[in-house]
């Protein structure tokens, strides 16, 4: 688990972002010279809602 921090941390460092979803957001971030990595996202667990629930529960253990 990540080290606990203060919400203020969001503004105390330059934005470095991960983009999960619409790639047009990568384009606009790059246009602003922001470091960003796009994740080639696919629906997890084959898109099955029940499997997703199970995955969520396993990951929270």
């Amino acid at each position: 688990m990540a080290e606990k921090k203060k919400a203020l941390d969001l503004i105390s460092r330059p934005i470095k972002a991960v983009n999960i979803g619409l790639d047009s957001f990568v384009e606009s971030l790059k246009a602003q010279s922001v470091e960003v990595i796009h994740v080639d996202w696919q629906p997890p667990a084959g898109g099955d809602d029940k499997a997703l629930d199970l995955l969520d529960r396993l990951e929270s253990l």
């Binding site: 919400a7 790639d23 957001f25 997890p44 997703l52 969520d56």
Partner: protein, 529 residues
Amino acid sequence: MIVKNVVWKNRYLDSLKLMRISNTTAALQGVEKVSVVMATPLNKQILKEVGLYTEEGEKAKPEDMLVALSLNEESQVQSVLDFIEEEMNRVKSKVQETAGYAPKSLELAIQNLPDVNLALISVPGNYAKHEAMKALKKGLHVFLFSDNVSIEEEIELKNYAETQGLLVMGPGCGTAHINGVALGFANVVKNGPVGIVAAAGTGIQEAVSLLSNAGVGISHAIGTGGRDLSDKIGGITARQGLQILNEDEKTKVVILISKPPGKKTVLALSDAVKQMGKPVVVNFIGMSEQLPLGSNAVIVDTLEDAAFTAYELIKGKVVPYRTVFTRNPEEVSNRAETEWEKMQDEQRYVRGLFSGGTLCSEATLVLADYLSSVSSNIPPRPELKMNDTAKSEGHVCIDLGDEEFTVGRAHPMIDPFVRQQRLIQEAKDPKTAVILLDIVLGYGSHLDMAGALKETIVKAKSIRQEKGGYLCVVASVIGTDEDPQSLKEQEKKLTDYGVVVMSSNAQAARMAALIVSRGKIKDRLYGGK
């Protein structure tokens, strides 16, 4: 005509890309209709409604892609499918070109970008919580653009984030500015001393644009998602946002924008506002009750007044600032008169067609201040609810970005189609006098909305003219000259084809009210309410 469904197992593309591919494919000869969608229950239902659904489609699962076609001949099917396949490859290689290295997982992305601190998440709603929680557990703040996230999921995400000192902006967060970086649908604005916390995407867009155009920049604008200030959530993100802006040395004045908060949340927020050592300009759109806020709070009615009150505070002047019109009263009245004198007697109503929800609510309230029979599909007060959203009666303001109009379609800030259709429908109603519009610029929005609406507006005006009347179109453009679309250019384009362009959303609504009242509300406009 034959209807054909083809299922592509376990394939995914986002709805925006699929919409574009569907549009390109629909232009092929011999193709009557085409819809390429993810086979979610909702999309299947829509295909059923438009007569594009077959037994084959029934077998598709949500993780499958469904190609639904209606075309002249069976023999064409394969060539259309090949075309769609080519389009998908073209789109994917364009993504690779723009995005560069794109790992398959968040973990790999984090390994490749040390010190990453923010995740932007815009996956379909049913996966959004899963992805957001993963990002939070990796210690990332989250900008959650996705909507259709349940309130229970929002509570779980925000409670967890708060214990970790992390921020969840969203769900349904359209806009934010952090350290000079514009996130989501956002405008290119100057850096400066005004910080914003808002449960209102287009509310942020108008406030930051007006300020930046007036020469005062933004420190940070923190979007909270539309439900954050409801009592179920209790304003978790809003309170974190206020605390951040209070501690931030760059921020000298804070603006807080939301629809009226829940009763308990107002109390929690007022405590948070009182503890701030800075002035806070508050615009709770449509809230009429007295607010128990501290002496550092200044309450205003409109987004424009919020922006300019913050401006005056920065310049050390007297507040609150209240605008009626920026231009002088005579000039405005004369312009209004040139519009109404060409109208027929029966042309009496304002029809507002909005792409921004906050802008729609604000316009509804401005109209309701001066006119009767005002309603909206997203009523800011219960008594302003529209009876039938498909058919306008009286004065109406419709948020075309509301789910009802966006199922299976891109948002009206990107795709003008729904607004174009509704504009023609309203022009055909002999009682329509004024069409009221918002044009929202910035990253993510259509690159030339003024141009995209031109043909429709010209046609709508001619429909009315053929009946011996005159259709007036009033608009405000939300954005800056530095935006990819350029405020000046979009305003000029609209003015050139006869649109009355006003300098804010509230002023556009006032102008519309002045015109339909044939000038009768002039004294009330200037003499207070």
